[in-house]
Amino acid sequence: MSADTNVETLIEGRDLRFAYAEGAPEVVRGASVRVERGRLSALVGANGSGKSTLIRLLAGLLKPSAGEVLLGGVPLARVSPRERARRVAYVPQGVSTVFPFTALEVVLTGRSPHTTRFRFETGRDLDAARAALAAVDATHLEARPVTELSGGERQLVSLARALAQEPECLLLDEPSAALDLKHRAGLIRHLRRLRDEQGMTALVVTHDLTLLDPDFDRVYAIGKGEVAAEGAPAEVLREEVLAEVYGDEHVRARRAFGRTFVWSEL
């Protein structure tokens, strides 16, 4: 497909397999994914198709039962968790914090891979955390306890935490799920800007198919734990491909205003 041979692969999953327990059905069944440096990639697919498990495998939070994950060509098993955390930031679907930490305290935890066990954050870390909050348009939340924030606001704080990590690559699991119209667009705009200005790499799990074309560079469609289709957004966002991936013949895709709109007929 759109294989650009001189693009560097930052994270590569090779023939990944995973089951949550011995003897349990495999959730990921031989998936291979390349997250290319300086590109925005998306992981789409039906509920329960294994997207979240796959992104956790790529983040090094789960160990594949077969296959391997490479970070910059080095097997992830040989990269220390701390080194990994400096290069890759992962944002889970939901974070439920019990204690009323302030948003700034949560964002500052993103600095921990850059500081030592015995040192508290410096002014430089504080600046990075505040810049991250500003980047997601959440400066006003700084002193608020995260336990009192709405789901969307908490998602912004999680994102800011990941940005404060100053990673090479963002792995985001449904970052836009709880966001409103404005913040959803803001997120994509920000990811685009990070890519264009800083060469940031990102892999985003999403159900918002309309966000993908033309802003994303590559889309992986996951079906039943395998990569069912991959390529540029325009190549994957086609009715016959999506009908197959989602098992739904009512899927429609139309191009208008320079975007591809996707919905399912009611």
């Binding site: 204690f99 305290e105 935890t109």
Partner: protein
């Protein structure tokens, strides 16, 4: 060009100054810890002096120089006891803070999680089968209490954990059941043990910080200091775990290893304190909570502060226990339970508002 440079430089230092001045409460955790420890050490000093002063016989400074009996009373009984209260209180405070962070549950503490109960059962078994013995130089009671505490923390955690989450309600229920079973076990052992040993167990279950001389304290410290060091070294990992377990893992925390270290260190500390002073409840609950109210949620601040405040708190509780009845003495565990029970219920009520137990 140079004026341009000046401008950006000026803007940069402005920004730095601003970030240093703005919002001192939520931002610089390091500065907050130093300030908090300053106040708490002052409080500890006052608590120590008060505890040394009060008692069945008021401290008489002049008599210390002249009277041999007064000297023994002070250096042989009063000072070791105050020190013992401090050591046990600091231990329970820091363990409470660690368990709360690890389980992401403000109601977790050695008593509510059944760790104290398990330790008590272990110690009772040891006393019933001959307490004086030593294995490789360690008192059997210490080892047995540690084993009991360790076992119960693992059982409780396994029961409450489903996949990636620890259910807060299940955690506390499992702790309660563990305590009940352990208490029943202690009663059964008492029933079957011979008379003198049964009496020994009974006296020990009531718990007391009574101690003669410093020997026992040094022996305890041999076990406690490594436990303290491990927990305080894990403060940052626990801070990240308290925010969110999966995020902590993504930020480079080796979650399994940290959890195991917290189990072992907490069990060691609780086992030893239970073996010496019996179950003293709620110190590990009240102290970290007070610290959080005063100095914020950052676990790296809460843990060392709970250590210092725990020492001061139990010293004062023990001073009350020693003096409330005049000549007699209340078990210090009763004082901490009377103070801690209501705090627990208040916390429970507060927590219900935003998390489903």
């Amino acid at each position: 060009m140079s004026s341009e440079l000046m401008k950006t430089k000026g803007a940069g230092s402005d920004l730095a100054l601003q970030s240093a001045v703005r919002d001192p409460n939520s931002a610089a955790a390091g500065r907050r810890l130093r300030r908090a420890l300053g106040w708490l050490f002052l409080f500890l000093l006052v608590s120590t002096l008060v505890s040394l002063w009060v008692g069945y016989r008021r401290l008489d400074l002049a008599a210390l120089w002249t009277d041999e009996g007064a000297r023994f009373l002070f250096f042989g009984l009063r000072l070791p006891r105050v020190l013992m209260a401090g050591v046990v209180g600091a231990s329970l405070g820091v363990v409470g803070a660690a368990l709360q962070a690890m389980f992401r549950n403000p109601l977790a503490e050695p008593l509510t999680l059944g760790v104290s109960g398990g330790g008590a059962l272990g110690a009772s078994v040891a006393i019933a089968f001959g307490a004086g013995a030593k294995v490789a130089g360690l008192p059997v009671v210490f080892v047995a209490a540690f084993a009991g505490a360790c076992l119960s923390v693992v059982v409780v955690y396994r029961l409450a954990r489903t996949g990636a989450t620890v259910l807060p309600g299940a955690l506390l229920l499992a702790g309660v059941v563990m305590n009940t079973v352990a208490a029943a076990g202690v009663v059964v052992i008492q029933y079957f043990a011979d008379y003198s040993r049964a009496l020994q167990i009974l006296r020990w279950t009531i718990g007391s910080l009574d101690v003669v001389g410093f020997d026992l304290i040094w022996r305890m410290l041999l076990f406690l200091v490594p436990g303290w060091v491990v927990l305080l070294l894990l403060a940052r990992d626990l801070h990240l775990l308290a925010v969110d377990e999966e995020t902590a893992a993504a930020l480079g925390v080796n979650v399994r290893r940290s959890e195991r270290l917290v189990y072992v260190a907490s069990s060691l500390i609780v086992g030893v304190t239970v073996a010496v002073g019996g179950t003293i409840g709620f110190v590990g609950l009240i102290v970290p909570h007070a610290v959080r109210l005063l100095f914020g949620e950052d676990v790296r601040v809460v843990m060392p502060c709970s250590f210092v405040l725990g020492a001061a708190f139990l010293m004062l509780a023990d001073a009350v226990a020693r003096t409330a009845l005049g000549a007699g003495e209340l078990p210090v565990g009763a004082i901490t339970a009377l103070a801690g029970g209501p705090v627990f219920l208040w916390l429970l009520r507060r927590q219900q508002r935003y998390t489903a137990l």
